[in-house]
Amino acid sequence: MLYALMGIGLSIITGVLNIPNFAHGALFALGAYFLVTLIQLLGNFWLALLLAPLGVGVIGIVIEYGGIRPLYRAGHDYQLLLTFGLSLIVTEGIIIVWSPVGMSQLPPPILRGGVDLGITIYPRYRLFVMAAAALLVLGAWLFLERTRYGAIMRAGIEDKEMVSLLGIDIHRLFTAAFALGCVLAGIAGALTAPIRGLNPWMGVDMLGIAFVVVALAGLGNLLGSIVAGLLVGVAQSLVALVWPEASVAVIFGVMTVVLLVRPQGLFGIR
């Protein structure tokens, strides 16, 4: 589910803006760090969970405005260089502000401990994350499918010229899309913190996976990325049971095959 959140966020960015966002993993980490700091400041998990992603969104707007906007017409190489540079800056910034030593964040008391599901014990917090992520994914889906903004965003992926011809400010669309992608990364990071703990490099693994999800779904295929996110998660845990070392290799293998055979992604129609 978290993969789906990451995937859909990155998918919006790659789809609408057509840039490879290498800073996505760092923004994910930033979401987690914001969460912990906000909890320390406010003493309230839920409020922090709400505010942390918004903070990441604000950073996203700054990045889009100051860095990415001048680059829409530049090649992918410069976009890559910029977003990678930004990810270095964010990661090192985290180290400077919060120190390189990892941190821990417990779930709020009511979500601690496990639930006996009969076949196995499962942590309450994970169940919460699944439910929350499912709701968010559903929310994202409804937003994209049922609202005007969502429609504009989808149109932006299909045909940018069309959108600007309709008199919609394409720059605002881009900013909004980038910010939304960042917020989703921030939520994923914040939700992950109590499960995996925090360290400045927590986003690196996630970045790779997010790209796999995007590739599997097909560039800019938002609904596909939800399904692909779920698939990657399930596939990874299944492989981990049989052949743990290969769990990461397998998803990249699948990504390679999909890119070669069905470049439009598993669910792409184009």
């Binding site: 390189p100 821990s104 196995t120 014990i121 703990g197 769990s247």
Partner: protein, 406 residues
């Protein structure tokens, strides 16, 4: 093309050459100087420990006024990036260009093994502390030494002590990091466990750097063990312990961190997670030796918190190296190597002796039990040492058959 004429490129080239002058020029070590290199991770996976390792080594050198055998010690550091490639190239560069002759570190086993090769090739002294058995085992040679206890010593201390405290806990589930260090500790835990009649209901291996432990924990829970023992290190251990707690296994089932860095890992876990946590380590700051007490006092005075295994190891290795120089009355690599072989003294963690045949430092290993939240006297008061063991690796297990020549 970019509209650049050939002449521009020429000028650019000369500018680049001129720029090079700004680079620190080749400084050959003065003969009166002993250059010691601390090879630590300031970036990469272990960058959280780099700075504290640096502190430990510096502390040991400053105690001696940066002097040994009436020579000045020049302490330099390099960032190994927690990568074998970067570590070897920076070590090599420091040896070639700065005249470094004594390398302490790095922290990561894999990286250290690569550096050990550099030491062998360049004939420089190398002291390392960590989980791999290879430096004092299959890949031993005359120039590299191991400070951490043998995995056998660790396994023996942990299993014996734990079984003494919990004689009924016979169903063990192991979770092992899938590389040389994990395998060797696992081997010895099983070996020692046999003597106690322990049944190993499961032993799962996870890749190094694993961050998703839910599958392993689900499996562990399914086995209904009396004890879960993890054989992993650093973030892997922290992430694993957290997940085991999240699944509700701890505190009902005791969890053993077999080979932990102690403070550095414990501080990353909330007190709730530490309940019923048992920890084996090469150092804990309540170790009751005169040198440890002094070290902890000055470290705490300087940095505000007690030292963990990492700074202690850097401190301890540096002390051992200096002791060997004193014994040899020389700072030549070959003399220091010979002096350290067989050196025996009371140092940081107690009685220490360097086995000349394997270059393993024979020394005590600590086993702690974490305190409950309300029993903690301060935020860093994590645990009590409940045992110190120092059974050395039986000779028949020693993988170092021939330490070789200088």
């Amino acid at each position: 093309m970019s509209g650049l004429s050939r002449r521009d490129v020429v000028k650019l080239g000369s500018a680049a050459a001129a720029f090079g002058i700004g680079f620190p020029t080749v400084l050959r070590a003065q003969p009166k100087e002993v250059v010691m290199l601390g090879l630590w991770s300031f970036t990469g996976a272990f960058s959280d420990v780099g700075p504290v390792l640096d502190r430990g080594m510096k502390l040991a050198l400053e105690e001696r006024g940066m002097k040994v055998q009436s020579k000045t010690i020049k302490y330099i550091t390099r960032d190994d990036e927690t990568k074998a490639g970067s570590a070897t190239r920076r070590a090599e560069e420091a040896v070639d260009s700065d005249g470094a002759k004594f390398i302490i570190g790095p922290w990561s086993s894999g990286v250290a093994l690569a550096v050990s090769e550099v030491a062998k090739r360049k004939k420089v002294f190398h002291y390392f502390s960590g989980g791999t058995e290879d430096i004092s085992g299959a890949r031993c040679h005359r120039y590299s030494f191991q400070w951490a206890a043998s995995p056998y010593t660790a396994a023996k201390t942990v299993v014996d002590t734990f079984m003494q405290a919990n004689p009924k806990a016979k169903r063990w589930h192991l979770l092992v990091a899938d590389y040389a260090f994990g395998w060797s500790v696992e081997k010895y835990i099983k070996e020692v466990g046999k003597g106690h009649g322990i049944e190993f209901v499961g032993a799962d291996r996870h890749p190094l750097g694993e961050r998703e432990f839910s599958n392993y924990v689900t499996k562990a829970a399914g086995n209904k063990p009396d004890v879960v023992a993890m054989i992993n290190f650093g973030l892997d251990a922290v992430t694993g312990a957290r997940e085991i707690f999240n699944f509700g296994l701890t505190p009902k089932v005791p969890l053993i961190l077999t080979w932990s860095s102690g403070v550095e890992e414990l501080v990353q876990l909330n007190p709730e997670i530490r309940e019923n946590l048992w920890v084996g380590s090469n150092f804990y700051y309540t170790a009751d030796t005169p040198i440890a007490r002094e070290f902890v006092k000055s470290y705490q005075a300087k940095f505000g918190n007690p030292p963990g295994y990492a700074p202690a190891a850097a401190y301890g290795m540096t002390r051992m190296t200096l002791a060997a120089m004193d014994k040899a009355k020389s700072t030549e690599v070959a003399d220091v190597v010979k002096a350290l072989e067989g050196l025996e003294l009371d140092d940081l963690v107690g009685r220490m002796r360097v086995d000349a045949k394997t270059h393993q430092t024979l020394r005590p290993y600590f086993f702690m039990r974490c305190k409950k939240k309300d029993a903690m006297k301060g935020p860093m008061d994590f645990a009590d040492i409940i045992a110190t063991g120092s059974t050395p690796l039986p000779a028949e297990y020693a993988a170092c058959k021939d330490i070789g020549s200088l």
